[in-house]
Amino acid sequence: MAENRDPIANTSLEQYLESRGVSRRDFMKYCTGLAATLALPLGAAEKVAAAIADDKRPAVIWLHFQECTGDSEALLRASRPTVAELILDYLSVDYHETIMAAAGHQAEQARAKTLEEYKGKYIAVVEGGIPTKDGGLYCCIGGRSAVDIATEVCGNAMATIAVGTCSAYGGIQAAYPNPTGAVSVSELLPSIPVVNLPGCPVNTANLTGTVAHLLTFGNLPQLDRYKRPLFAYGKRIHDNCERRAHFDAGQFVETWGDHGHRQGWCLYKMGCKGPATFHNCPQVRWNDGINWPVGAGHPCVGCSEPGFWDSMSPFYGRLPNVPGFGAETTATKIGVGLTVATAAAFAAHGVVKTTQLRMKKD
């Protein structure tokens, strides 16, 4: 469990400057010069000074490793606040390869500068798995391995947010047989504070929610045993599913496009993993609450659970060992039964699936 730590420096800019031997007069002179350089109207120096002094935006270094940039694309879909507000007004995103203007060694310099100036105070965001095999050579940026960069950047951060299933659990490249030895941030650096926001991709509402929590309460949200915030991963999909009543009533989709499918019946028989998945998918949904997989007629594949690539596949196979749906069985009983049965079954199933694949190879 991560501790609560203050993300924002308590020292004011003026106190800081004073400590460095810069007087208020010098500072105003600097601001006037800056305003002139930027061709701002006269009198703007005061405003510039205010903007700088008020600038408490947490610095952010966003790292990309073995990933598909789907989580950065998810960030682009943010609406509360919008991505423009996030990158301009709420955060100072000093390093993010997909959006940053600088390239090459200038980009590396930008990262190094933030590391130095905001050591222990910036937020690291990681997207992608980290390959550890063979000295980490499977992912290099600027000639340095992902292991090397992650260790430096996450190790010196106030906290690390692992966005998406890849950085939270290792992701698709960590599925059996994991050819590059891909691991999650927490596996690489077990002792640092990490918030995992799994999902494929991360739901941007959970990312902005985590940032909002940091900015509003000044600490990290409470996490579950997989380091997932309770506000987003505290409940099972099945318990919040809009189709739950059809499950309880024994009404299931049998073939694609059949009457039940068009009427929004339960997708359990088509392979839905909602009963074994913790995620706020049914409530916040996606793209400003427009829809979610079950809402569009496709089973949940359990993308927010550890190792889901192995443990939840085959995706169109039914969850094992789910109690029957006799008329005498009450909905409550089924619900209670599922909680226990699926947790155990899935733990076992993950092992079985991986073992099966391994045996085939051998």
């Binding site: 800056l34 305003a35 930027l38 703007a44 700088i52 600038d55 490793f65 598909c68 789907g70 950065s72 694309e73 998810a74 682009l76 609406s79 919008t82 990158i87 100072s92 000093d94 993010h96 997909t98 203007a101 390239a103 090459g104 200038q106 980009a107 590396e108 390959p131 050579l137 499977y138 992912c139 290099c140 940026i141 600027g142 000639g143 090397d148 698709i172 599925a175 047989p177 050819p179 494929c200 991709p201 073939t255 694609w256 496009g257 499918h261 068009r262 009427q263 996606w286 400003d288 427009i290 829809n291 997989p293 569009a296 496709h298 085959p314 995706f315 169109y316 196979g317 694949l357 190879k361």
Partner: protein, 573 residues
């Protein structure tokens, strides 16, 4: 004096790319395109259910998200003879169509524009003059002096913090930036507007595909989103209307903002029609069916290829002429590295011979050795460029109505000949041209879908061949898709209902490829030859040409070969 320069990371792309270039007297004389990441998904699909391959391969890329899912389901459908209902074909067109439009706009404003637009210079603009400029090129309503004043104030306040975040440490003030401050301010305003726009219009994918990125409604044999005008949980008239609103919003922005901006910016950079031509051979396999069971030749975009010097004759490409080489890629082939392999026979055994990390001050490139995780696909042993430029050149050569009209309009507006297409500027313009015709086409596909639903056709998937027990014991298939970045193909071999082999030949693998055994450079490399570099410390010119391809390296290094061979231990030299 020759000087070798390294740009790593190339930012504002998807994935991890390193460019090394030799510069002599201010001009690039040689170049190396180096993919620096490998995920090894090759082994992972072996033995899994072919029906879920689309979900796995979709994760190759979250930028051109979902293009792989379409190629994947098509490969399985081809292999086991599934018949895709018209409703599903049209829903796929709409998902891919809006993907293309949104992706091209994001590329222009958020990935490519900063190579041409100097944000800091926008602070010197006169908002009144900016309003006049904007109104002279478009009737887009957000064009008042007050509007641009507000944008400028916002940028000034941001710059005033001295913490430029993603805009820090760039090449601002570089002499290669040619736009007047007013054009820069207008572009910055549209950079911000496009950020809001892209979030809205992609909601088409949320309705049809559950979410974006990574829509989740693909099925082998169809789609999982049911259609029924009289059902609450299916695609009905209300949802079609929602989609229509976003499609119209998409089209309007492309017509009134993107295209006018593209033409305005291009007019200041016409010298870039001289650079970046590259291999000048173009390939497309065609896409977008509008009838059930349609032949590829009858799709909206038709297959074709244009070879160097053969413009405007476009021949039909053949799938069996595609082969991949690893002479300069960090893999080994069992039959020798200089032999090309057809995709179904593909092998992906890593064989890393590059420097051991950290290697920030070492060159990775070597004309005689391996230097990239990207393979070298060749068509008929020739390097080909794929992507919007390839599609527009082929379409132009074929006399495709919408393509020809729009290309001619752009050439006439810029007062340049058709040969100007073969350049960095031409590549950037072709993306805009494609975006425009695609934005218009989307609305037509929606109309066809509505008409078909109105006739009472509610079929959405091929249920007869859903269960693997209905498949032949052994089968192989290929699925093509024209993704935003170019021709994509997935190749599958199925044995007893399981994946026996899976291979993908990806747009950025074509374009970012290293040299082949004949020493022929890949399209990025070839395009950099002759590019001027004013200041080797600030090589914005390299970014211009590389970004004009819209690189997607995560896709490029996800070549699949799921035959289950054990990966041999990598030897680090």
């Amino acid at each position: 004096m020759a000087k070798k320069i390294v740009v790593d990371p190339i930012t504002r792309i998807e994935g991890h790319l390193r460019i090394e270039a030799k510069v002599e007297d201010g001009v690039i004389t040689d170049a190396w395109s180096i993919g620096t990441m490998w995920r090894g998904i090759e082994k992972i699909l072996h033995g899994r259910d072919p029906r879920e391959a689309w979900y796995w391969t979709q994760r190759f890329c979250g930028v051109c998200t979902t293009v792989h899912s379409l190629a994947s389901v098509r490969a399985v459908e081809d292999a086991v003879g599934m018949q895709v209902p018209l409703n599903a074909e049209l829903i796929r067109n709409l998902i891919m169509g809006i993907q293309n439009v949104q992706d091209h706009v994001i590329h222009f404003y958020h990935l490519h524009a900063l190579d041409w637009v100097d944000i800091v210079s926008a602070l010197k603009a006169d908002p009144g003059a900016t309003a006049k400029l904007a109104q002279s090129i478009s009737d887009w309503p957000k064009s008042s002096k007050d509007y641009f004043t507000a944008v400028q104030k916002r940028v000034a306040a941001f710059v005033g913090t001295k913490r430029l975040g993603p805009f820090a440490n760039a090449y601002w003030g570089h002499p290669a930036y040619k736009l007047p401050p007013e054009a820069n301010l207008m572009a910055v305003a549209h950079y911000l507007e496009a950020l809001d726009w892209q979030r809205e219009v992609i909601k088409v994918q949320a309705v049809l595909g559950a979410k974006n990125p990574h829509p989740q409604t693909f099925l082998t044999g169809g789609m999982s989103v049911p259609v029924d005008p009289n059902a609450q949980n299916a695609l009905n008239a209300d949802k079609l209307m929602m989609i229509r609103e976003w499609l119209v919003q998409a089209q309007e922005f492309v017509e009134k903002v993107y295209i006018p901006d593209l033409l305005a910016v291009a007019s200041f950079y016409l010298d870039w029609a001289k650079y970046g031509a590259g291999v000048q051979s173009y390939l497309t396999f065609g896409d977008f069916p509008t009838a059930e069971g349609q032949r590829r030749e009858d799709y909206w975009l038709k297959p074709g290829l244009v070879r160097k010097g053969e413009f405007p004759a476009a021949a039909a490409p053949q799938a069996d002429k595609i082969a991949e080489y690893v002479t300069h890629s960090w893999y080994r082939y069992s039959g020798g590295d200089n032999k090309g392999l057809r995709p179904w026979e593909g092998e992906t055994e890593p064989n890393y011979t590059g420097p051991k990390p950290p290697y920030p001050d070492q060159y990775v490139s070597d004309v005689d050795a391996k230097y990239s995780w990207v393979k070298a696909p060749r068509y008929d042993d020739t390097p080909f460029e794929v992507g919007p430029l390839a599609r527009m050149v082929v379409g132009y050569a074929q006399g495709h109505k919408e393509i020809k009209e729009t290309v001619d309009f752009v050439l006439q507006t810029l007062k340049v000949p058709a040969s100007a297409l073969f350049s960095t500027l031409g590549r950037t313009a072709a993306r805009g041209i494609e975006c425009l015709i695609m934005a218009r086409k989307n609305v037509e596909w929606l109309d066809i879908l509505a008409a078909n639903m109105g006739k009472g056709d509610l079929r959405i998937a091929d249920n007869d061949r859903w269960d693997p027990s209905a498949w032949p014991a052994e089968a192989e298939g290929v699925g093509f898709h024209e993704a935003p970045r170019g021709t994509l193909s997935h190749w599958i071999r199925i044995k007893n209902g399981e994946i026996a082999n899976y291979q993908a030949v990806v747009p950025s693998t074509w374009n970012a490829s290293p040299r082949d055994p004949q020493g022929q450079r890949g399209p990025y490399e070839e395009a950099l030859i002759g590019t001027p570099v004013a200041d080797p410390e600030q090589p914005v010119e390299i970014l211009r040409t590389i970004h004009s391809f819209d690189p997607c390296l995560a896709c490029a290094i996800h070549v699949l070969d799921a035959r289950g061979r054990e990966i041999t231990r990598v030897k680090v030299l």
